[in-house]
């Protein structure tokens, strides 16, 4: 099937998910800086950004039975660029400005001509997010406890 805006291929969907996950990790200032660098046109709200609750589902051990962890606040935004491209974003938290910035980046990214520039503009945010993730992993690793079985000499 041909790739069109309405029926993107699986690779395109995966690539878009990567970019949106990056936007979700980035701070509002990072997204703002990325948009400034792109000289983005003014976006129009399709639906003003709004905050609501979403039930977060967890799995024990990562692969056990699903359970409802609790409700989390989520902000969603939907925008339209002057050329008709639409962008959407769902973000944890209540930062409407950030969700709207991410939606604008989503709309820009969907245009193949702009895609590389959007990804380049987000590179510093990506590096920051990666550094934060590494640091969190290092901190967690420092608290690691090795459990071992002590032979009690009964045998």
């Amino acid at each position: 099937m041909a790739t069109s805006p309405l029926h993107p291929g699986p690779e395109e969907i995966a690539a878009r998910q990567v970019v949106m996950a990056l936007c979700a990790d980035a701070s509002r200032d990072d997204l703002d800086a990325a948009l400034q660098a792109l000289a983005a046109p003014n976006a129009e709200d399709l639906r003003p950004p709004e905050t609501g609750l979403v039930m977060a589902t967890g799995r024990i051990g990562g692969d056990g039975r699903p359970f409802n962890l609790g409700e989390v606040s989520v902000t969603r935004a939907a925008i339209r660029l002057p050329d008709g491209a639409t962008g959407f974003a769902y973000h944890l938290g209540r930062d409407r400005t950030k969700a709207r910035l991410a939606a604008t980046l989503d709309a820009l990214w969907q245009d193949p001509a702009r895609r590389a520039r959007v990804e380049a503009a987000l590179r510093s945010a990506a590096e920051k997010a990666e550094a934060a993730r590494r640091q969190a992993a290092r901190r967690t690793a420092a608290t690691r406890v090795e459990f071992l079985t002590v032979a009690r000499g009964e045998d």
Binding site: E44, D45, L46, R47, P48, R80, G84, T86
Partner: protein, 195 residues
């Protein structure tokens, strides 16, 4: 190209709901409806405002031939309301009718059941003009004596169909009539006779 919905979703939807509620409480008395949205043609701003205010994922919506022909209208309603579109008028909770002259007979829409008369279809018609003080004569709850309302264009044998609709009370459909900037209600409890 997807068009924006209400600029201020909470207050615009509340204002539209209030206008529709007043219109149904006082049949034959047109209310002002400041329609905010600027929907894709052939959807009128009033039809769009009522659809955005009243429909959601639990209310199947039926579109008449004019509206169903436009994929932009379907995309607009699906995005802003999440309402499923149905092709069967008897399953619809709301019916949006752009061309009243070609509206199917009222009896083809859901009439409700004796236990749940509220499960009937609410028809929303886009007319060219609504005027009070002339035209059809209305009697019933919410009307002090009689009220008069002139509608154009009128569907074929509209008064006879409304009489049949009234005869099945408490079953039957309710009508919301819109014209540019105005909305009027014609609930199933109202008896309509020709001038």
């Amino acid at each position: 190209m997807l068009a924006p919905g209400f600029a201020d979703p909470v207050h615009d939807a509340q204002g539209t709901f209030r206008a529709v509620m007043d219109a149904l409480a006082r049949p034959g008395l047109p209310q002002r409806l400041d329609a905010g949205p600027n929907p894709p043609a052939p959807l009128t701003p009033e039809l769009a405002a009522i659809a955005l205010a009243l429909t959601d994922a639990d209310t199947p919506v039926w579109l008449d031939a004019d509206l169903a022909a436009s994929s932009e209208v379907a995309a607009y309603l699906r995005f802003h309301t999440g309402a499923p579109l149905t092709e069967d008028p008897a399953r619809a909770a709301f019916a949006l009718i752009r061309d009243p002259a070609r509206c199917p007979p009222l009896a083809r829409f859901a009439q409700g059941t004796p236990a749940y008369p509220d499960t009937s279809t609410t028809l929303v018609l886009a007319l060219d003009a609504i005027a009070s003080e002339a035209g059809l004569r209305l009697i019933g709850p919410g009307i002090d004596g009689t009220a008069r309302i002139a509608l154009s264009p009128l569907p074929d044998s509209f008064v006879a169909q409304l009489a049949e609709n009234r005869a099945g009370f408490p079953l039957g459909v309710d009508l919301i009539l819109t014209a540019p900037g105005r909305v009027a209600g014609l609930p199933r409890s109202t008896a309509v006779t020709e001038g």
